[in-house]
Symmetry: C2
Subunit: 175 residues, 2 copies
């Protein structure tokens, strides 16, 4: 079934810049049975891990995170780029190709002892996921699951996330 999911992803060469092949998930999101299958896998993983809070990364992570918070009946918590969240936040920097950027979470997004799942569409270099883990842990939560639809294994993002339980449904081992 992972192969079936992979076959539905649309590859767009040259986006966002020459040399990059963008993996476009909108073709999967428009097929209800494929979207449901991906959510079924994530849901089963989160239940096994005893998750009581879902942290979703802006913005494609929100699509999966909203549905999973609804299915599991647990809290939904957004992580967003600096300056987007209105209330008091904590921040975590992560490296870009050139320079750094900052992710934020509300200070009441996670509470001490929470068993947190982090969800995003893509694991590439692992920078945003690793920063999101730090945000959860700063607030006393435990990251018990990381789930992504697509993993670009040739970028070795898992190295940055050693020690965490990670589920990816679709792998690409070359650009």
């Amino acid at each position: 079934m992972a192969d079936d999911l992979k076959a539905i992803i649309r590859s767009v060469p040259g986006f966002p810049k020459p040399g990059i092949v963008f993996r476009d998930i909108t073709t999967l999101l428009s097929k209800p049975e494929a979207f449901r299958h991906a959510l079924d896998e994530f849901e089963a993983f989160f239940r096994r891990q005893g998750v009581n809070r879902i942290v979703a990364i802006d913005s494609r992570g929100f699509i999966f995170g909203g549905a999973l918070a609804d299915r599991l009946q647990v809290a939904f918590v957004p992580v967003r780029k600096k300056g987007k969240l209105p209330y008091t936040t904590i921040g975590a920097e992560y490296a870009l190709e050139y320079g750094t950027d900052c992710l934020e979470m509300h200070i009441d997004g996670v509470q001490k002892g929470d068993r947190v799942a982090i969800i995003d569409d893509l694991l590439a270099t692992g920078g945003t996921l690793e920063a999101s883990c730090r945000l959860v842990e700063q607030l006393g939560g435990q990251v018990v699951a990381i789930a992504v639809l697509i993993e670009l294994t040739f970028l070795n993002g898992r190295k940055k996330l050693a020690g965490y339980d990670i589920l990816s449904l679709i792998d690409y081992d070359t650009e």
Copy 2:
């Protein structure tokens, strides 16, 4: 129950700039029973309207749109700011306080004859929702439902959306 939902929204004065009171929905998203209640209302409305496709507006619309596409087992289609979608797009401009901005949708996001629901967290001036309606209609779809969690009625956004069926769950009649 709309009053119960409203009581959970956090008001943040001075965000994103002085004089604005930002209505923060993260306090609702962190309460599963409140999030579920909002989704129940949206789901019932979309079923009544015979929706077969959900168009969600980046990025808070994605949180509700993902869950509703899962509940209704219909296609999820994102509308995003210019330059974010990788495949061939159509665009629609809308007015900002100063100047204009552009929303985009993939050309295969909607097909002729589709009965489309558009979802976002907020109806303010109606600019982004009206532009999203134009995108759906450019591709031959019919907008049969517009749903938002919060409506700022004092901004008269409904005027711009005359003729559409709109559901909002929480109203604010002053800033």
